[in-house]
């Protein structure tokens, strides 16, 4: 009996240490607008177009190239990945309710791979306009830090800095296991951040580094 209590305490301690809301206090629940998450693409002003050097590491293989992220209208985000020589690997259009494949090379045209990529791009580039009523937390030590617990896709904690107006990280949990962690790393003088995405269940990483296009 004592052992059971000890195990429960240990599990409880482990979960609270790993929790995405550690050091935060709940400040209410309401619908969340996309703009409150400070999506990366919005930092480009009216242009709403960003270029990244991208490296995708999937188990032992690695593919690098250039990623174009462009908001073509209020609801559509176009994501195009091509190699340095200009060969297109994939071209997706994402809206809050649709995922359209314009181009995709055969090795990636697998249901599971496409589902993961769709989810990851939705996470990174905040493709919903409004998110259903969600719990909101703020940091106990820094009131500028706000965390939105969004229920799409899975359970996702979006941590933003309201003072700097930036999205700093996303912790996504999938049921029963898995999910992804996304970090946005801002360097001085650059509008766009470096983005690192790591899947929790499989060896899949995305590394995105912004670069200017003439």
């Amino acid at each position: 009996m004592k052992n059971l209590r000890l195990i429960s305490l240990l599990i409880g301690a482990l979960f609270s240490a790993c929790s995405s809301t550690g050091g935060l206090k709940s400040v209410g629940k309401r619908a969340v607008q996309r703009s409150e998450l400070y999506p990366v693409i919005e930092r480009q002003g009216t242009k709403k177009e960003a270029w990244f050097n991208i490296s995708i590491q999937f188990f032992k293989s690695e593919q690098s190239g250039q990623l174009l992220v462009k908001q073509t209208n209020d609801t559509t985000t176009r994501i195009v990945f091509m190699t340095a020589v200009g060969f297109k690997i994939f071209d997706f259009a994402i809206t809050p309710h649709d995922f359209t494949i314009h181009t995709c090379i055969d090795p990636l045209r697998k249901k599971n791979i496409l589902r993961i990529m769709e989810k990851d791009f939705r996470l990174m580039f905040c493709t919903n306009l409004v998110y259903a009523p969600s719990k909101i937390y703020s940091s106990k030590s820094d009131t500028a830090i706000v965390v939105y617990k969004l229920r799409i896709p899975g359970k996702s904690y979006y941590r933003v800095n309201d003072q700097k107006k930036i999205l700093t990280n996303i912790d996504n949990h999938a049921f029963p296991v898995g999910g992804a962690k996304v970090n946005f790393e801002y360097t001085e003088g650059s509008l766009l951040p470096k983005i690192h995405l790591k899947q929790k269940g499989i060896k899949l990483r995305f590394e995105l580094e912004p670069f200017p296009i003439k």
Partner: protein, 213 residues
């Protein structure tokens, strides 16, 4: 009324632009072109040049431009080096392809185990070595010319290659029979244009430049 005037101005501008492009006509002497190309490329042991790559995407209003340096050495050695806006290196050394980003470790692919890469590298080597015969097996070819250029339009015969490439247009300068422009058109009609300038033929190029470890 203003709308009609705007349309007329647009039409006039587009007609002027169309007029600026020399019109392609079917090639008069195809066997002569093939023989000429083979003879001149046989003489060319190496070629070095600069290139400008323009990627035209339906989703963008302006092309994405990259610049770099290109080297070819007989038989199967190609060094394709991007300098701006990104540094990126591709080396084709027979059946091996090396790709390397500025900050990354090199990635080596054996084209014998990658059909798509093999198709692309074979096509590139054939383009620069002027080996039309090798291309004829895998593409249907149409031949055109202007006063200053020859143009071959390649359409892949293989269904798998056709899924990625609609056609490849190769432009050769009549003066020296070297390639001056390459156009790779995708099934979506997005395309990549490569323009080759400052061409230098038969200068010594060290084998080190094509080394794949």
């Amino acid at each position: 009324m203003n709308k009609y005037i705007a349309y007329l101005i647009l039409l006039f501008c587009s007609l002027q632009q169309a007029g600026a492009q020399p019109k392609m006509k079917p090639m008069a002497d195809i066997p002569g072109f093939k023989a000429n190309l083979l003879a001149s490329t046989q003489k060319a042991k190496s070629m070095e040049c600069d290139f400008v790559q323009k990627k035209f995407l339906e989703v963008l209003t302006e092309p994405v431009i990259s610049n770099g340096h290109f080297c070819f050495k007989r038989e199967n050695l190609i060094r394709w080096e991007y300098l701006t806006p990104n540094q990126y290196l591709i080396i084709i050394n027979n059946d091996k392809v090396l790709t390397k980003n500025k900050n990354e470790k090199a990635n080596v692919i054996d084209t014998r185990s990658n059909k798509l890469f093999k198709e692309l590298t074979d096509m590139m080597v054939s383009c620069f070595s002027g080996n039309i015969k090798a291309i004829e097996k895998r593409y249907s070819i149409q031949y055109f010319e202007t006063e200053k250029q020859y143009m071959t339009k390649l359409v892949p015969l293989d269904k798998n290659a056709g899924a990625y490439l609609k056609n490849i247009d190769m432009y050769f300068d009549k003066s020296d029979m070297t390639i001056s422009k390459l156009l790779m058109v995708e099934p979506s009609n997005d395309y990549t244009e490569y323009n080759f300038t400052n061409k230098k033929l038969n200068l010594p190029i060290a084998d080190e430049k094509f080394k794949i470890n």
